[in-house]
Symmetry: none
Subunit: 188 residues, 4 copies
DNA sequence: GATGAATGAGCTTTCATTCAT
DNA sequence: TATGAATGAAAGCTCATTCAT
């Protein structure tokens, strides 16, 4: 039953976040998942493959959460709010995912091509939103990737600071932050 | 002679950048530094300590580069431009440093307290700048850490995208980016 | 149905020849035989037993081929020719079999007693031939095993050299080789 | 001190002979040699390299023993006797070496080219002897490799039978065996 | 101080064998 | 009977660390 596959993936994610990429030993993953070491290899060819699968699964999940409820017919600003709030909720809910992603992308496993493909697959609606705003002449003439980086991925840094305890990201700040990010990309 | 200490630190730095956090073995460091394996342990208690020292060195260097030429007497906007340009140059010059930092901060070595201390020590002028702007009522009423995150650390993401080849960060974009970041934090 | 037993034995044989003694995994055998892993254990107690059975099958087959067409009523020299030609044809036809046997006999599986028994069972006519020649006073007074070793098993070495490409064993050499081997054992 | 290298090689050889090629684990080798597992890897890159080194060392040793005291000025028959006696003594003295060699040559490690090179290096005088006999018109017109196989390597089989307890190779048989082998290759 | 050979715990991975279905 | 997912001992190998020189 694929229940085991899930448990292995989940155990791997947790351990990477907790012990770092190096600290994630297959033995530990097996223990946390409640299976024998050999069992992991029934589901994943090797450690690298397991790591890649964790990555892809998480990317998909994040993509889904960030674009949830996005209505292409709504006003540009409303769509922006939806994306922004989805993003911050997603990031605050699963801080492990941050630690994991950052390590994955810094590791030798990571390849530009694969990354591009995953983004295209799971974050397409996000980029389409920014492209649309550009076409309407609403946003600064900067690549959609840049606009996205300055307003949404940006939140990765803030939530990391929050997790580290250096800032306190409470709801009271959201409106000001949304406004700040919106003003950053608005054409003047 | 502390010449050896320097060579060890430098070798470690190079190896982390080249082979990743995991690829940096003490044996390799010794070889690159031209010393015996055991010699490293005269200068650093263990691998963890060596890694921490490399980290601190890097933080100091980056702090220096980012605040270089910052004139507290200049106009707020001019100071902002200086910080912004210093930051982007620093990040584009040493993309390895990004990969390194990200791995370090995600690793179990990293502690909030130590991190706070390093920031206080090496990035004080940066935070003082934002504090000053806040006092003058020029910036949005958000924590200095947040303002800094949205405008300078923000560039970490953009340069990472640049390195990955997903955007092209040429000088032609700088003015628009500075303007975007400046507008983000300006009180309205 | 014992059809499965046959398929398992055959798969094992093929795999040993192709991948070597070490490369033969039970899983692979099962796959090649088109049965489940566990099924093998219905027919053979364990890997060792399977290996022993493959060995015995091979010995029997070789025994059959070597003694094929041997006529106890024919002249001693004619019988010798028959054995010699059968042997070289058998060895050249299945060079894998050599590699297999050599590995088997060198392995801890191999026991003197078992080996003796197999020889008695499958190569009896060969030894009887040499015994008969001895009784007739035709051959040197050496143990039949020695006579056989010097003239027939001997060919194992030559065919191995042939397989390794160090000599070229073409039919043109056969008469001279038969003559050489015959002269070796002839009493003078 | 290279004392350890010797101990490791020797332990490996013994274990291969005793437990078979597969039974020789690096852990066991380390134990028998009285060193730590990691120590083996200071002297040999990996298991394969260790195995190759054992092979080469033994080939050299056997080459030396077989050609010991060979006098190119002596009569052809005397030289033959020297080679023959050297060979049988060498083979009977170190039966491990047989088990080892046979397994090595049957393994995937073995390459024709490497084998050829080792033979050229360590058994040159043996082949030169047979070549000389051929030039003098003394021997049958068969490749030197074949003549050597029929008379000397041939003894490998006999000593194996001896070790297995199927024949008893005592000195009383030597003269008859030498004569048999000599007659086999002599031109008539 | 400096060396680097030696250590051995710990890593990833394989595979003969079992057993619930 | 037959299955094949699951097991876990054991394999080859690495590397942070020590210590006799």
């Amino acid at each position: 039953m694929s229940d085991k596959r899930e448990r292995i993936l989940s155990a791997a994610e947790t351990l990477i976040a907790r012990c770092g990429f190096q600290g994630m030993s297959m033995h530990l993953v097996a223990q946390h998942a409640g299976v024998a070491t050999g069992t992991i290899y029934r589901y994943f060819a090797d450690k690298e493959t397991l790591l890649r699968c964790v990555h892809e699964e998480r990317m998909q999940e994040i993509g889904n959460r960030v674009t949830r409820g996005l209505d292409p017919g709504a006003s540009c600003y409303d769509q922006f709010r939806t994306l922004w709030l989805n993003t911050i909720h997603c990031l605050l809910d699963s801080p492990d995912c941050l630690l994991y992603r950052v390590q994955y992308e810094a590791s030798p496993l990571f390849s530009k091509e694969e990354d591009q493909e995953l983004h295209d697959r799971y974050f397409k609606p996000v980029f389409e939103f920014f492209e649309q705003g550009l076409e309407e002449g609403l946003f600064r003439e900067l690549p959609a990737e840049v606009l996205c980086g300055m307003t949404l991925e940006n939140l990765l840094l803030l939530t990391q600071k929050h997790t580290k305890g250096r800032i306190d990201l409470h709801e009271g700040l959201y409106e000001s932050l949304i406004d700040a990010n919106w003003n950053a990309i608005l054409k003047r």
